[in-house]
């Protein structure tokens, strides 16, 4: 087991290195650089000044040298300075991480709270009106992009209450009410879509499990139905659901670009898009590496989770 975990951890190194190489190359293939964007048109400056500015950012160095410098910084835990603001990338990430994490956690709680009971109910009451209602609810969630739902929410709040969520983030520990007043709406919009995927997965996984021999055995030995469902059915059906929930959670760290814009949230998703459009190489590279690391870490946690859910699973 221990050996397996160590080998899994070591496997992350080539994965992350591959991400680093691809990110670095792709970014350099996009035309235009930060100097051109900042001073290309508005500033009355000559080509010499632009060249000097490029040299200041290290953009005049050969690509392999730029890559090695960045990678060496990364190994030492130094993400470098944002080319746009000049502030440390770690600082820029840190001020946005709290909001992004909280939103991801809130959306996950909403999704899990909706998905597991609704998916279970739909499977148990298969082909009844309850099942149909849950399926319509989940298909609607899949069909509606969360940012669109967010726009609709804001519109309704404006029309009926002449109110919209606060535009500046207040940390939960400073003022829980102000914090929740702002984040509950995007969490609902994202959580609903997120729950739709998980609900459908829960329903189909449970339907499959309920046809297994051990369920028939449990029923035959006279176990109460709800215990059959909860103890033997739901627990075994959770494996694929946990995978979906885990991957969706990883996606939420940096993937909520449009929803963050609609609600004017200062999160990592918006930062990634802005960094790319500003050709802020150091920031973009760091954020993509962070996102990749989150995916790798979540997958690792999922593997551990499988063992807890299904004791038959043993890694060697």
């Amino acid at each position: 087991m221990q050996r397996y975990l160590i080998s899994r951890l070591l496997m992350t190194i080539p994965t992350l290195f591959g991400v680093a190489v691809i990110t670095f190359i792709l970014l350099r293939l996009i035309p235009g650089d930060i100097v051109m964007l900042r001073y290309g048109t508005g500033a009355l400056v000559s080509e010499d000044v632009l060249r000097a500015e490029r040299a200041r950012y290290g953009l005049d160095k050969p690509l392999h040298e730029q890559f090695v410098n960045w990678l060496w910084g990364l190994v030492r835990g130094d993400l470098g300075l944002s080319m746009w603001t000049g502030k440390p990338v770690a600082y820029e990430v840190a001020i946005r991480l709290e909001l992004t994490l909280q939103l991801a956690i809130m959306a996950t709680i909403i999704a899990v709270t909706l998905a597991i009971p609704l998916g279970t109910l739909a499977a148990v009451k298969q082909n009844t009106w309850v099942d149909y209602a849950v399926r319509v609810f989940s298909i609607a969630g899949l069909a509606m992009p969360s940012f669109w739902l967010g726009i609709l929410m804001i519109l309704l709040l404006l029309i009926f209450f002449r109110w919209s969520p606060p535009v500046v983030f207040t940390p939960f520990w400073k003022d829980p009410l102000a914090n929740l007043t702002q984040l509950i709406w995007p969490a609902l919009a994202v959580g609903y879509r997120y729950s739709a995927v998980s609900t459908r997965m829960m329903r189909s996984a449970l339907l499959e499990v309920l046809r297994e021999d051990y369920i028939r055995t449990a029923r035959a030995k006279g176990l109460v139905e709800y215990l059959v469902i909860i103890r033997h059915g739901v627990r075994n059906a959770l494996l694929p659901v946990v995978t979906v929930i885990g991957l969706e959670f990883a996606f939420l760290i940096g993937g909520l670009v449009v929803t963050e814009q609609v609600f004017n949230l200062n999160g990592l998703g918006k930062l990634i898009v802005e960094a790319i459009s500003r050709r802020d190489y150091t920031m973009t590279q760091a954020l993509i590496m962070l996102s990749a690391a989150v995916f790798v870490f979540v997958n690792f946690l999922l593997d551990l989770c499988y063992m807890w859910l299904d004791p038959r699973i043993r890694y060697r």
Partner: protein, 537 residues
């Protein structure tokens, strides 16, 4: 639950669709005798974020709007009487009769926010950084002060600028909203300190800047104008998404966006809020032009370029495009309605500005025949992918189609667009220019030879225009200067048609009626110190 939610959605959509389509605009100006009220925090939306905090090196409004309240300038524009210049840090000033010496007397008792007094040394250090920047320090508007020979501080309250030659626009340049006065001790030690830090003498003291979120300022109790500012503080909130910005304005989470809103956003806000908001509009010192690459045939032929400008119905385009974009005013190179604008009767004589578009297009076809391309030709119009560029691009392509030109519209992201513009990798390109004041030195700069202008992207050399530019720049008689400017316009836009002006922007500011003491000016780069702003309730 389902039913109720569905009904709620339907009702909301119904209400939205039933709203009146042509809202009337409340434009009631505040009564002059209204007594300003102290207190309150002004929350306003800023639709971009500053790349750094140093206005001397940056060119975006995202630096000016949230940070100007922390700083003072030597002079400033009078918001009630633009383009009149009034003192900010300067108590008085004089200009020598030959126009070669400008002397400013500074106010007494001005303090930086760290408590140290402001002296003429600070002004000298600031302007040295702007005009003679040290190696490696970018000064975005250094070129505007080419006439300045030296800056001196004869005593602690006097600053003297000596010029190499007279410059008609120099005084107004000292009112530039970009020229924040920095502390000499800091600038001399580290000229890049102000890129990441804030320390000025403005009406508000810096509290915090949270990247991606907001800038916070609180009242400067030691401000040099007694009794100002009225506000306790302000919060500039960055909102890059326009729907979020409009929602915030609509709900009162933000009370104003100082830059501008689009005509549709204005209508939405007026429809929703009625007389709770006030709309102010002004021709904007921002214009959109077609840059033709004069090095690439057939654009090296003035007949072809004239044909292209003659095909554009600017008067008609103004009517359509102004309904949904910033584009509105018809003018040549100087802002319509501005102090240097060519009168409409004169403007209508310029090719491309004729009222009779059929006659204009007939002339365009004749010129194409004369240039040896009677069947027209094909070319690519490279364009930026943000509004109002694409709308204008579509309009222009349709205009040119009517004289037989086949134009491919290529939309580019800002990075590649800028790169192609600067490297000359284009045939025709849409470009824009925004300035902080109406001044021929600024607005005509992109039309003089590239050796002298880093912004002549059309890649031509014209000694006649260069000479006219210099003459108008040094002409101290306003009337004579205006004549020289018009002469320049007739050649650059009419006779040679090097680059084609299209339409000037219209600035639209919607503010909650309770926000008082602020008036629209033709530029969003000025009048942002918030000194006179107050909130009524």
């Amino acid at each position: 639950m389902w039913k109720r939610t569905g009904m709620l959605l339907l009702v909301a959509l119904f209400l939205a669709s039933c709203a009146p389509t042509a809202p009337s605009q409340p434009t009631a100006p505040q009564p002059a005798e209204e007594q300003p009220r102290y207190g309150g925090e002004l929350v306003f939306a800023v639709d971009a974020e500053p790349p750094s905090l140093d206005a001397h090196r940056e060119t975006t409004f995202a630096v000016i709007i949230p940070l100007a309240p922390f700083y003072s300038t030597l002079l400033k524009f009078d918001q009630n009487n633009y383009p009149k210049v009034v003192g900010d840090l300067a108590e008085s000033w004089s200009v020598s009769s030959d126009g070669l010496v400008y002397e400013f007397k500074l106010r007494d008792g001005v303090k930086f926010h760290d408590g140290t007094p402001l002296t003429s040394r600070d002004v000298v250090a600031t302007y040295n950084k702007i005009i003679f920047p040290p190696q490696g320090v970018i000064s975005a508007r250094k070129a505007l002060y080419a006439a300045v020979e030296s800056i001196e501080a004869p005593d602690t309250r006097t600053v003297r600028f000596k010029l190499k030659y007279p410059s008609a626009s120099m005084l107004a340049n000292f009112a530039s909203g970009w020229n924040w006065i920095y502390k000499a001790e800091i600038v001399e030690k580290d000229p890049r300190w102000y890129e990441k830090n804030v320390l000025g003498t403005g009406a508000f003291k810096f509290v915090e800047y949270v990247p991606g979120s907001h800038v916070l300022g609180r009242k400067n109790e030691d401000y040099f104008i007694k009794g100002r500012p009225y506000l306790d503080g302000f919060r500039a909130v960055f909102m890059t998404d326009r729907s979020a910005m409009v929602a915030a304005l609509r709900s009162g989470q933000a009370l104003i966006n100082f830059r501008s809103v689009t005509p549709q956003e204005r209508d939405d806000l007026v429809r929703a809020l009625g007389n709770q908001v006030v709309v102010e509009e002004s021709p904007w010192i921002c214009s959109q032009m077609v840059v033709l690459n004069n090095e690439k045939p057939p654009f090296n032929d003035p007949r072809v370029r004239r044909a292209l400008t003659l095909a554009i119905d600017r008067w008609g385009g103004s009517q359509y495009l102004s309904q949904f974009t910033f584009l509105k005013h018809v003018g040549a190179l100087m802002r319509p309605g501005g102090p240097f604008a060519m009168p409409e009767s004169e403007l209508e004589k310029l090719p491309g500005f004729w009222r009779d578009i059929n006659k204009s297009r007939e002339e365009a076809r004749r010129l194409l025949r004369e240039a040896g391309v009677p069947e027209g030709f094909a070319f690519v119009l490279k364009n930026r992918n943000i509004e109002p560029y694409p709308s204008l691009g579509v309009f222009l392509i349709d205009q040119w189609r009517q004289i037989g030109l086949r134009v491919e519209h290529q939309l580019l992201e800002t990075g590649p667009w800028t790169q192609d513009l600067r490297t000359g990798n284009f045939e025709a390109m849409l470009y824009f220019n925004c300035d902080f004041m109406d001044d021929p030195d600024l607005q005509l700069l992109s039309f003089i030879s590239p050796e002298r202008s880093p912004v002549n992207y059309a890649r031509y050399r014209d000694p006649v225009l260069d000479d006219l530019y210099d003459r108008q720049s040094r002409e101290l008689d306003p009337e004579k200067r205006k004549q020289l400017v018009w002469q320049f316009e007739r050649r650059a836009v009419g006779e040679m048609a090097y680059q084609l002006p299209t339409l000037w922007w219209n600035r639209i500011v919607v503010r909650w009626a309770k926000v008082k003491g602020w008036r629209i000016t033709p530029s969003h780069y000025i009048n942002q110190d918030l000194v006179d702003v107050w909130i009524a309730q």
